[in-house]
């Protein structure tokens, strides 16, 4: 079952992957996955499982344009990120990588370490008996997620999302 990982407000990309652990700084075969939240939350990378969910406060992903921050989360298999507000560059990078982001606040309804069911297509989290309905994403976001990111989306459709067929 997906585990809930709860984070605070204004989580910045330096907390996600400090600049010292950029792929530019690492050995050629060192995977940035290992450095997800390495200083801010050292228990995250060793324990996160594919499909786990990040629940956070507002302004998640503020700071740098470094796409290796959401890439590290993708390589960890994060199934979705749910926060009341995402920083703009992070949101775009996550969309481009095909990481579902839901803009809503569910911090009152889950706790760190909860094991839940998550149905991405329905946008439904089931936490014991409690069902949490996430707001439906805009259709163009779902299209990008379905393709697995912006690169396959662009290669298939030859256009940017939400900009007409």
């Amino acid at each position: 079952m997906p585990r809930i990982w709860v984070f605070g407000n204004d989580v910045n990309t330096d907390q996600m992957v400090p600049g010292r652990y950029a792929p530019y700084m690492l050995g050629a075969n060192d995977d940035v996955r290992r450095y997800a939240f390495i200083e801010a939350r050292p228990d995250f990378a060793p324990n996160v499982e594919p499909g786990d969910l990040i629940i956070a406060g507002p302004n998640f992903g503020c700071g740098s344009s470094r796409e290796y921050a959401p890439l590290a989360l993708k390589r960890c298999g994060v199934g979705a990120i749910i926060a009341p507000l995402f920083a703009r560059i992070f949101f775009r990078n996550a969309l481009n990588l095909g990481i579902p982001c839901f803009t809503t606040d569910i911090r009152e309804q889950v706790a760190d370490g909860d094991l839940v069911d998550f149905d991405l297509a329905a946008g439904l989290i089931t936490n014991n008996a409690n069902q949490i309905q996430l707001p439906p994403p805009e259709g163009w976001m779902r299209e990008v997620w379905a393709e697995g990111g912006i690169v396959p989306f662009y290669r298939r459709h030859g256009r940017f999302p939400a900009t007409g067929a």
Binding site: R20, E39, N59, N93, T163
Partner: protein, 421 residues
């Protein structure tokens, strides 16, 4: 209905004159900036994932080696070597190599960024191009690679927060204090998905305007555009770009610069801003003057005006990393650099320096740094145990003299204060 700068520029770049906040547009980009840190992944995505063989226009791409310049490890040296080879193979016109400086001032100095342009860069502080009234926006690897392949990108046209300044600064107070005041007022997410317009700073040079433009991302903005009027409007403004009186703003805030006190951003968030008077006595190990926000000639000159005839306090290191070779050259030519060196400061190669915590002055646990840059996030400049305070070059210089965070007026005598004003 009038348009904001963002609406005018995105309208122009999309060929749709009537765009309004909320519209989705595809735009032709005038310039794509990529730096050494992300270029390897951008090149990989361009060729191997998108399957493009060449960039769409070799004259509209600028590659800048600024993030770790010069290289600190063999691995970075190899990656920079590969980037240089790629630039040659693609026939790209604009490569700015080690020592030329940080992309944002350099591309304006080179005349590649002009008012009304649409510029995207692989760096969040690409809002800095707003210093020359361009719409500058930061993006990640994949968006930059897509733009290299197609010459285009897409935007949701942003709402705009308008920041008005009135009056002028007291001695010892400067544009950084205004920028930090804005972070304090708007907060870190106060302009997320929006643009910021800065008005009322006609007396500032374009380099001083870059302090405001780069700090725009620290309130979440997609772009931060300084009105192209007055002293700093040295670049020709296209006839279609102007302040339109009936443009619609999501929020308007106003700052009376004449009553503004030095502002300090205390650890570990940029919008944790307080008046310097409320910081208390904070002993400092490192004073760091640099970055695209406050590493320009004007910033070095402001620091030198306070350090002239003085020495650094015992146990304080002062590291100056000029934002560009042009700023360094000016400082070397007029005695500014000699003043900084005589005071005991040291000078690094123009570039990003320790702003990203990679080289040239990273911090140890428990060290305290007064930094003229733009981010004081935990771990930003090295150890997560270090404490970073953001402040102006004037406060940084006064702090270097006393060893604790200090108002410039407490260092200058009354004659100097009159000159300083």
């Amino acid at each position: 209905m009038g348009q904001t700068f963002a609406e005018q520029i995105l309208g122009h770049a999309s060929g749709r004159s009537d765009v309004q906040a909320g519209d989705m547009v595809v735009v032709n980009v005038d310039l794509v900036m990529m730096h050494d840190s992300l270029s390897p992944s951008i090149i990989e995505t361009l060729h191997n994932e998108l399957g493009a063989e060449r960039v769409w226009d070799r004259d509209k791409v600028a590659v800048v080696i600024d993030h770790v310049a010069p290289a600190a490890t063999v691995r970075q040296a190899e990656q920079q070597q590969q980037v240089r080879r790629w630039v040659a193979q693609q026939g790209i016109s604009h490569l700015f190599d080690v020592g030329r400086g940080i992309s944002h001032p350099v591309l304006i100095e080179e005349g590649l960024v002009q008012p009304g342009m649409l510029v995207i860069g692989s760096d969040s502080h690409s809002t800095g191009y707003g210093a020359a009234a361009a719409f500058g926006s930061g993006m990640g690897t994949t968006d930059i690679a897509l733009a290299l392949a197609t010459g285009q990108t897409w935007f949701r046209v942003p709402e705009t927060v308008r920041v008005n300044a009135v009056g002028n600064f007291q001695p010892g107070v400067s544009v950084k204090d205004f920028g930090l005041w804005a972070a304090r007022t708007l907060r870190a997410d106060g302009a997320t998905y929006q643009s910021v317009e800065w008005h009322g700073v006609d007396f500032l040079s374009w380099r001083e305007r870059m302090t405001l433009a780069t700090l725009s991302i620290e309130v979440g903005a997609k772009a931060g555009i300084v009105a192209p009027t007055g002293l700093g409007a040295e670049h020709p403004v296209p006839e279609w770009l102007r302040v339109e009186a009936d443009a619609s703003y999501s929020r308007v805030v106003e700052c009376d610069l004449s009553t503004l006190e030095p502002q300090v951003s205390v650890p570990h968030y940029v919008d944790n801003v307080v008046d310097l008077a409320d910081v208390g006595r904070v002993a400092v190990d490192v004073v760091y003057l640099g970055t695209c926000t406050n590493g320009h000639y004007e910033d070095m000159a402001a620091a030198a005006s306070i350090l002239k005839g003085r020495r650094l306090a015992p146990n304080v290191r002062m590291i100056v990393v000029p934002a560009s070779s042009e700023s360094l050259h000016r400082a070397a030519s007029d005695g500014t650099l000699a003043t900084l060196l005589a005071a005991g400061a040291t000078i690094g190669t123009p570039g990003c320096g320790a702003c990203i915590g990679r080289h040239m002055g990273v911090l140890a646990p428990d060290e305290v740094c007064v930094f003229t840059g733009n981010r004081n996030f935990r771990g930003r400049m090295g150890s997560p145990g270090a404490n970073i305070y953001l402040a102006s070059p004037e406060v940084a210089a006064a702090t270097a003299v006393t060893g604790y965070i200090t108002h410039p007026r407490n260092v200058l005598d009354s004659t100097e204060q009159a000159v300083f004003a």
